[in-house]
Amino acid sequence: MSDEPIIKFDKVVKRFGDLTVLNELDFEVKKGEKVSIIGPSGSGKSTVLRILMTLEDINGGVVTVGGEPLWHEKAPDGSLVPASETHLRKMRTQLGMVFQQFNLFPHMTVLRNITEAPVQVLGLSKQEAKQRGEELLELVGLADQAQKYPHQLSGGQQQRVGIARALAMRPNILLFDEPTSALDPELVGEVLNVIGKLAEEHDLTMLLVTHEMRFAREVSDRVCFFDQGRIREEGAPEDLFTDPNEERTREFLQAVLDN
């Protein structure tokens, strides 16, 4: 873990119509850090990930990824102008995302889901992509499912394919947007195991939006509690979960941990 932030939100504003979702958010993640984002729904947690994955633009402030502005480009005179699609494409290569609804391509086999982008975008040969795809399936424990289609798999298996697919693009930063929220309770464990293993064995920077408090506590270096478009409180998991400073954090944790 170096001290230089790999992700930096500087007074970032995001609005949907009249609704302000991110309210001058300041937020930093260091390289290799595993950060969990918790908070009530509508607090802007997922929006942070979606802005990073360039699925949502921003209305104010600057987001920096790997030292370069994400939604802006430097004009010749040094000022920041809105990013072009070319710039966004370049920046996106650093990031990967795992979606709540998996978003696998239903008409492609599991293996093709994983190899499509490496072949098309990274320019890997089919053979190379296939070999790497099989390794990744091995990693997520689905080596024997390569030729199946997503609808033939359980939700937990589909999400593990989603993780393999994101990893296949070799991102430095992996974003998890409530990866277990759409799963039946008995399938949550297998997905968390894979994420936990990644967190332990790889120096990937990981950003995890989750409602799995116990898991967040186990796996994260830092936990951020989001409320009303800002970070209300952040800290090491053992501090934040056992002895939060803010009353709002305490209320939230009590409400979710009671369930």
């Binding site: 239903p106 086999t109 499509e116 693009m169």
Partner: protein
């Protein structure tokens, strides 16, 4: 006699049997016009759909205006226009080509709406996943969105195939010898309209039933989740 085939007017049945080969020649023209018109409608409609989906108004607007025009003016006017007006600008097409083109263009306005609906029905998450994986816009359209949209659009396209088939007799006004035109000529020359027109009706019924059955087979055969890619 037509197309070098003579008819036998000695009895009703003998007449029917003797003109069947003549009508079948006309039917072959009808099928060709239907197929060609349908493929033009499929191809041009896809172009309209892509243009109308363009983020730039300068591209999407003209496409919307043209398709609206094609949809809201009678096929017969478009047919006359292509047949009588284009030659004044030095573009002369054979009657059959003009007819197929007119059919294809008018129906391209309808098929473009079918494409649009099919494309919009693909989940938003599919676009997001493709974007997150940095797939290009073109690749996303051809390999992610379209294969999933096609099974949804097959039934509606099948309906238009049958509609085009039933509009082919309009081509007779620009001298195309499709099935109905052939039957009318036989009637004019023998003063027996009942037999040839009845036969045309029956042959049409067979064609449309076969076409509908084919579309249903295709619909059942295509997996609902999209055209599979290994």
């Amino acid at each position: 006699m037509l197309f070098g085939i003579a008819w036998d007017t000695s009895s009703g049945w003998a007449f029917a049997v003797s003109i069947l080969p003549i009508l079948l020649i006309g039917m072959w023209v009808t099928i060709q016009a239907t197929v060609l018109g349908f493929f033009i409608a499929l191809a041009v409609g896809l172009v309209w759909a892509a243009l109308k989906a363009a983020p730039l108004k300068i591209i999407s607007w003209p496409a919307a205006v043209v398709t609206e025009f094609l949809r809201d003016t009678p096929l017969l006017i478009q047919l006359f226009f292509l047949y009588y007006v284009l030659p004044e600008f030095g573009i002369t097409l054979p009657a059959f080509m003009t007819g197929a083109l007119a059919l294809g263009l008018q129906y391209s306005a309808y098929t473009s709406e079918v494409y649009r609906a099919g494309i919009e029905a693909v989940a938003k998450g599919q676009h997001e996943a493709a974007r997150a994986l940095n797939l290009s816009g073109g690749r996303t359209f051809t390999h992610i969105i379209l294969p999933q949209a096609i099974p949804r659009i097959v039934p509606a396209m099948g309906n238009y195939l049958v509609s085009i088939m039933k509009d082919v007799p309009l081509l007779s006004v620009v001298t195309v010898l499709e099935m109905l035109n052939v039957a009318r000529i036989i009637g004019d020359r023998t003063f027996n309209y009942l037999v040839p027109l009845s036969m045309v009706g029956a042959l049409y019924l067979i064609m449309t039933l076969v076409a509908s059955a084919g579309v249903r087979l295709l619909d059942n055969w295509l997996p609902k989740q999209g055209i599979p890619l290994k």
